[in-house]
Amino acid sequence: MSNITRQTSDSALTLVGGEGNQGSQQQNIKPIQVKLVLLGEAAVGKSSLVLRFVNNDFQENKEPTIGAAFLTQKCRMEDKVLKFEIWDTAGQERFHSLAPMYYRNAQAAVVVYDVTKAASLDKAKSWVKELQRQASPNIVIALAGNKIDLVQPVDEGEEESANSGRQVPTEEAKAYANEFGLLFFETSAKKGVGVREVFTEIAKKIPLELMMSPRPPRQVPYGGQNQLPGLPTGSEQIAGGTNGGCNC
């Protein structure tokens, strides 16, 4: 399975430090913004993956998230500078109806499941379906099976409990990903395996050239389908709105 994650090592993504300390030569390159959303069942490791990517760190998530947490990460790939704007959504089921707010206009999505929990792949599949119906038509979706450290013995000693924990065979998930045109990875946020690759492959697959313009071309809103349910769409005026203000 490691060939899945290794194929990317040639054109790697290098992280650019925090907002403040960007080198002068990067400043004149306008970063290309990539809006990315993480979806998946609670506790599969979405926040951990982001944290690993952004801070190269693994820790218990202490950030109280309501709806979704917002993080950014600048990266360099070849001659381009990318800025990932990441929405890390909260897992509670009742927040589901708020999710469209975060994936609307997203250029990329990472749908995460836990390789030790079969049900989490079902949930991931349902997210994929929803994205393919309701998100931007060109959204790049990556499927990430997380927590492989739990099923891959790192050193020989850990072998006993190793593969018994796996509930989602790599081949099964990979076949599914192929069928639906998704990027596929197995990752460990804990050990830092495969995480960078997820973002690199996404960056490669996104049609960056199209987005070199100051702002990415905006998809026509879907008549409210990809909005917070109940929120008015751009064109729809709320009844009772006054026309008194400036409408320039």
Binding site: A43, E85, N247
Partner: protein
């Protein structure tokens, strides 16, 4: 010196409430169990007056303006109600020992350990900077003269003291008083402990979700880095999830609970959560979160109206306000601002209700308007706001020459903009907008959920989109009427619901149709036939339940129906065979064959032709003819006659009528048409009603204000004591229609503005006087400020803020009321 206050008096079974006509100059809620003595004052005139002495030795004089008989009635009612409240009086003393204000007034210098985690782990902010001591002193004066905890009387000065920020140790109690949670805590004495005890050790989805969030609820506050603090938070959240299992636990409740627990005891926080979820922000934390979405729409509406240019800009760059604003509302700003400021916002929120959330939100956008006009995406939007929140303590006008102005912080500015420029965001307008939009919101959430669920069907059989949609609606309609509570996404349909469901798509399955209830045949026959129906549908239910979980998912139903409808002659014959082969041994025995024939008769019962009777008797005859011989088994035992599937097939195919039934007749009985009238009372309608009653409850809380506003113009023509029946579902109507109701009546009713909904023993008898007069006897020497060692900077801050907030009173700065005696006189 005496001052008269006109206003409306309401008497309920448990409370006496008063709101001045201007809704500002005075209001109180007096629980009758705090009343020590009521005296009728016999005046020479025809005026009717009562003098009430309460627990805290305050004397209120009520002069009621009304016809004599009405006054008599009022008198009798209050006497009866007082009697009924005696049972509560004995709890008063012990309850008051849990109120910080009591101990504070006894000895302000003493260390009192009544309150929240802050007492142990410290309160956020610098006590000196917050002027905590000085504020406490002002509060001591206020509480000494104007009542406290259960008996507090609110004068305009009260809200000013709240707006400049509550002192740490009193904060929890004032929140509790403002929100009304204190009354819930009083009447539900012991319930919190009981919930803990009854549910000790139990786990649920909610408790698991709570567990995940405990370590990320205000982790920066010291208490939540300790076991003690975490345990406190866990107890409150889990107790609440047991109190309202349908709501359970929603992320963001952990933030709110962890914040208020700094200032409140567990029990106080528990009841405050309860008021939040039920009344102040209904539906925010429910399983569909409709309330939160609804308020986002209302907020957008306000932004559009008040800041059209900004609104337009957001539209142009396609940034949705909610990405930043939803967490503000869900966590009452606690998660957004530095804690000390968030608590100032909370102070106002508990005092004035949800309008404050909108006012603050609008002010934030307004103050940052210029910068927000330059943003082009979510990231920048969030960044601007984040930076703003992190600089709230800094001067708003750092370069101003005037030092006083330089001292104004961004937070001061925020408060002023919020309450001055957006003072016309009223509770009434929030309620009105909630009413306007809720149906749409519910509908959209519903159709969003529906789309998702339909999409997630693994197998839609050969049904068209429209048919699936109808099956979905019928599936959830049946469930809704079955359980009478909100649906969860994972709900499975039980057998009873399945009867109803199947009856809604195929006529033979209607178990209450005419042929079963009407005269044809004896009642016993009908009963028997209906039992056959139950039996048959039960068999189908078991057949549909592929996972044998005892409940059907939408997928099960779609799959099962699809097999019937899109199957063929042979598959349907097999289905019937299997349905009736109860022991699954591959044979139908005599009993089962007879059941089969009864099933046929049941399904055919509404057919007008007589052909089916002949066919069914043919069936029985042939069936017994074709039964396979069971050689080995006792031959003369006719119970061992059995029929295999191939024989069954032959029997069916031998009869044209039955063949037709299996070939097409059975399938076409399933109709996926949606009767319009059924749709209208569909799911959305029900949730809508639930929403309405939420709205009502909220409206009730503020109902007095509405009453006042509406009734004012009518007071001349309507001098009599006007009373109005309140009931849970009609309070808004009653509020708006009351001016047309000139009749005097005193009615029992089930609910009231201040009575918790789960507190039915305290149902209201509501007597409202349209033109009551509250007379206030003012203390001759108003207590002066700043008589002490406190620095004059404080004086200035308080004075400045007080001035800023006096705008509510039409620019006229009101005097502070400090009363030893409160005298409400209601004149005819």
């Amino acid at each position: 010196m005496k001052e008269f206050l006109n206003g409306k008096l309401q008497l309920s079974e448990g409370y006496l409430t008063f709101v001045a006509d201007d809704a500002k100059s005075c209001s109180f809620i007096l629980p009758l169990y705090t009343v020590r003595r009521v005296e009728r004052i016999n005046s020479r005139t025809h005026n009717f007056a009562l003098s009430i002495l309460n627990w805290h030795q305050m004397k209120l004089t009520l002069q009621i303006n009304g016809h004599k008989t009405v006054c008599e009635k009022f008198c009798n009612t209050i006497r009866d109600n007082l009697k009924n409240q005696v049972r509560h009086m004995k709890n008063l003393r012990s309850f008051l020992s849990t109120c910080f204000s009591e101990a504070l007034l006894v000895d302000p210098k003493k260390d009192i350990s009544i309150g929240g985690l802050g007492l142990i782990f410290g309160f956020p902010g610098d006590i000196k900077k917050l002027r905590d001591r000085y504020k406490t002193k002002l509060w001591i004066e206020y509480l000494q003269t104007n009542g406290r905890n259960l008996t507090l009387i609110k004068f305009p000065y009260f809200s000013k003291l709240v707006r400049v920020g509550l002192p740490n140790k009193l904060r929890g109690e004032i929140w509790e008083i403002c929100s009304g949670a204190i009354f819930l805590r009083f009447v539900n004495d012991g319930m919190y402990e009981k919930l803990q005890k009854d549910n000790a050790g139990k786990i649920s989805l909610s408790t698991e979700e709570i567990e995940k969030d405990l370590n990320r609820s205000l982790p920066e506050y010291a208490a939540y880095q300790t076991k003690e603090g975490i345990n406190t938070l866990r107890r409150v959240l889990t107790a609440y999830s047991w109190k309202d299992p349908e709501l359970g636990y929603c992320q963001a409740m952990n933030i709110v609970a962890s914040a208020i627990l700094i200032y409140m005891s567990e029990e106080q926080a528990f009841w405050t959560l309860s008021v939040l979820c039920d009344r102040l922000i209904p539906g925010y934390y429910s399983t569909s979160m409709y309330g939160a979405i609804l308020d986002q729409i209302i907020f957008e509406h306000y932004v559009q109206n008040k800041m059209p240019i900004l609104y337009e800009h957001f539209q142009n760059v396609d940034v949705q306000l909610s990405v930043a604003c939803l967490p503000w509302f869900l966590s009452l700003y606690i998660n957004s601002m530095p804690l000390i400021f968030a608590f100032r916002v909370l102070d106002c929120f508990f005092m004035e209700g949800p309008r404050v959330l909108f006012q603050i939100g609008l002010a934030i956008l307004k103050i940052n308007g210029d910068e927000l006009l330059t943003i082009t995406d979510d990231g920048q939007f969030i960044h601007v706001l984040k930076r703003y929140f992190s600089t709230l303590d800094q001067p708003a006008h750092p370069n101003n020459k005037n030092q006083k102005i330089r001292e104004i912080t961004k937070f001061n500015e925020l408060m002023v903009v919020a309450f001055k420029e957006f003072s016309n965001i009223t509770t009434e307008s929030v309620i009105e907008l909630r009413k306007t939009h809720q149906l749409k919101v519910v509908h959209n959430i519903e159709s969003f959920t529906k789309r998702g669920q339909i999409r997630n069907l693994k197998d839609t059989s050969k049904f068209s989109k429209n048919e699936i949609s109808i099956i979905y609606d019928k599936f959830y309609n049946a469930q809704f009427y079955g359980k009478q509570k909100s649906i969860r996404n994972d709900s499975r349909m039980d057998l009873n619901t399945f009867y109803r469901f199947l009856g809604s798509i195929t006529s033979w399955a209607k178990l209450d149709d005419e042929n079963l209830t009407k005269e044809n045949g004896s009642p016993r026959d009908n009963q028997g036939r209906r039992l056959v129906g139950y039996e048959l549908i039960h068999k189908l239910f078991i057949h549909f339940d592929r996972s044998q979980s005892g409940g059907l998912t939408l997928q099960d139903v779609v799959f099962g129906l699809g097999n019937i409808i899109f199957g063929d002659l042979m598959s349907r014959i097999e289905l019937f065979f299997n349905l009736h082969d109860s022991d699954k041994d591959g044979y139908l025995f005599k009993e089962e064959i007879l059941q089969m024939s009864e099933s046929f008769l049941f399904i055919f019962r509404n057919r007008q032709d007589d052909g089916h009777l002949g066919s069914v008797s043919n069936f029985i005859k042939n069936a017994f003819e074709y039964t396979d011989s069971v050689g080995e088994i006792n031959e003369n035992d006719e119970h061992k006659m059995r029929m295999s599937l191939p024989s069954f097939r032959m029997v069916i195919l031998a009869d044209g009528y039955l063949e037709e039934f299996f070939d097409s007749g059975f399938a076409v009985t399933f109709q996926f048409i949606e009767p319009t009238e059924e749709r209208s009372k569909g799911l959305g309608r029900e949730i809508f009603n639930a929403l309405m009653s939420d709205g009502m409850r909220l409206a009730e809380k503020f109902g007095k204000k509405i009453n006042n506003a509406k009734s004012k113009s009518h007071t001349d023509q309507n001098n009599s004591l006007n009373s109005k029946r309140h009931s849970t579902t009609s309070s808004v109507q009653s509020a708006s229609s009351m001016s047309s109701n000139n009749k005097t009546e005193i009615n029992n009713s089930n609910n009231s503005s201040l009575i918790p909904r789960n507190n039915s023993q305290d149902s209201f008898i509501s007597v409202e006087s349209q033109k009551s007069l509250l007379k206030i006897q003012r203390n001759d020497s108003p207590i002066s400020f700043g008589s002490d060692e406190e620095d004059d900077g404080l004086m200035q801050e308080v004075d400045r803020l007080l001035n800023e907030f006096s705008i509510d009173e039409n620019g006229k700065k009101k005097k502070k009321y400090f009363l030893h005696n409160l005298c409400c006189i209601v004149v005819l």
